[in-house]
């Protein structure tokens, strides 16, 4: 494989920017939702759960269309962000990031929720009685213990956001240098007959990016010792 062309660099860097910003923005929201779904009990919880799953269930094009209605220049949220923060989404890389974040959300919430539910709450009460407040207990006990789910959620979300196509093209359009991420570039290439080589190069780029994310997450998982439970059990190997 020869070196990347300037256009390929542009697409790659844009993809990284879009996915990176999407993950950074959605991670706390996803964790908060996972927390609420794991720990709280309230009427309508199933509805919130369903709402979170929505971007998974609906065809991405429909999600993109809904984003267009909500976050477009005339949409209520679109106006809110434009007037409140000077933030516009349509035809901008921020829109691609928004689409990627929304599509990644359900995957992240599920993985994190699973790990939060698995945390032994007796350890939290031990921390409390040792003098740690709610927040410190959360930061020093719950969050590290839920780390495998956070990392899994991040990997899933990142992979999903790297691959996001339908919602992005519908909502943010396919503008080179602004919203043309890897999958959109692949789509454009697929529109031209005889572009297999170009498609392959772009697909391999996608794969490499997420392979890097995977390796990084495995490394983080090992470093954060998030598999401590197995360390002790290792000598019980049968």
């Amino acid at each position: 494989m020869t070196a990347l062309s300037p256009e390929e660099w542009q697409v790659l860097l844009l993809s990284l920017k879009v996915s990176g910003v999407a993950m950074a923005a959605i991670l706390p929201i996803a964790f908060a939702l996972a927390w609420v779904l794991a720990r709280w009990r309230f009427p309508g919880k199933v509805l919130l759960d369903a709402l979170v799953h929505l971007p998974l269930v609906l065809p991405p094009v429909v999600t993109g269309w809904l984003l267009l209605i909500a976050f477009g220049p005339a949409g209520p949220l679109g106006r809110f962000f434009a007037e409140g923060f000077g933030l516009t989404f349509i035809f901008r890389w921020t829109g691609a990031a928004l689409a990627a974040a929304v599509m990644a959300l359900p995957l992240m919430v599920r993985a994190m929720r699973l790990s939060i539910e698995a945390v032994d709450r007796r350890l939290e009460s031990a921390a409390r009685s040792l003098g740690a407040g709610r927040w410190r207990t959360f930061a020093t006990i719950t969050l590290p213990l839920a780390m495998p789910g956070v990392l899994a959620g991040l990997v899933l979300g990142l992979a999903r956001s790297i691959g996001e196509f339908g919602a992005t093209i519908t909502f943010a359009s396919n503008i080179p240098g602004e919203t043309q991420t890897l999958p959109l570039a692949i789509y454009s290439a697929l529109q031209m007959p005889g572009s297999e080589w170009q498609v392959t190069r772009l697909a391999v780029l996608s794969i490499l990016v997420s392979l890097a994310a995977l390796v990084a997450s495995e490394w983080l998982a090992r470093r954060s010792g998030s598999r401590y439970g197995q360390a002790g059990a290792a000598h019980h190997a049968l």
Partner: protein, 233 residues
């Protein structure tokens, strides 16, 4: 912002030709337009939601009608400037010629296999194909043997990959894909005229928008598209 070119929303099937036209326009000293290629329906919805673009090139008339009916086109800028043909294709080197005339034995030629088309209920190329096959009175015999694809390029890929022995696509697509060959051309009378309208959007503030539209519909612009097999009006 006026340093960069106007934002053109163009149907995905114009990918190569529109890029070539933009390059030619840029070579004349204008900032190169930014072009977003996607399905006409997605682009039209973006325009309807108030997206800030300058020029819209649709692959069919109904979506341009839709946008126009909402008052989103700059008055008197809409022109249908390109035409295309509808052809029957088969895998390169393997397909036998078929003469396309009323009642031609399409079903027999398919055998147990399917006919690759763009979605005949939704995608323009599929709608034209359905019209043509209906007028040629072969629709009932192939109606149950269709493989409707997402768009015309995907239908093309089904044939070039050998998943379907025959397909109905635009002449421009068939010409660009070395993996397929034209088996026959549908008479222009068998379907509505295939035309590509262009218009400047009402919300456009870009000084080059109208200039680029004029270039596209000029003899010079049309020549670029002719090079890719389009007809020009």
């Amino acid at each position: 912002a006026q340093q960069s070119g106007p934002l053109v929303l163009a149907a995905a099937s114009l990918q190569e030709s529109m890029n070539a036209a933009a390059d030619a326009w840029a070579a004349k000293g204008h900032p190169r337009p930014k072009i977003s290629f996607a399905g006409s329906s997605a682009l039209a919805r973006q325009i309807e939601s108030g997206a800030p673009a300058d020029v819209f090139v649709s692959a069919d008339e109904p979506w341009m009608d839709e946008v126009q009916s909402k008052g989103l086109l700059r008055p008197r800028t809409r022109v249908s400037f390109l035409t295309n043909t509808l052809v029957l294709i088969g895998p390169a080197g393997k397909a036998k010629r078929l003469t396309i005339r009323p009642g031609f034995p399409l079903a027999a030629a398919l055998g147990p296999n399917r006919l690759a088309v763009a979605d005949p209920n939704a995608v323009p190329a599929g709608i034209y194909a359905k019209q043509a096959l209906t007028r040629l009175k072969v629709w009932p015999s192939v109606q149950g043997k269709l493989a409707p694809a997402e768009n015309v390029r995907a239908a093309l890929a089904l044939v070039s990959r050998g998943a379907a022995p025959l397909g109905v696509v635009y002449g421009t697509d068939a010409r660009a894909e070395p993996g397929v060959q034209v088996v026959g051309t549908f008479p222009a009378s068998s379907h509505d005229p295939i035309s590509y309208p262009v218009a400047v959007l009402a919300s456009s503030r870009h000084k080059d928008a109208e200039g680029f539209r004029r270039y596209l519909i000029s003899a010079e612009g049309k020549a670029v598209f002719r090079g890719f097999g389009f007809g020009a009006r």
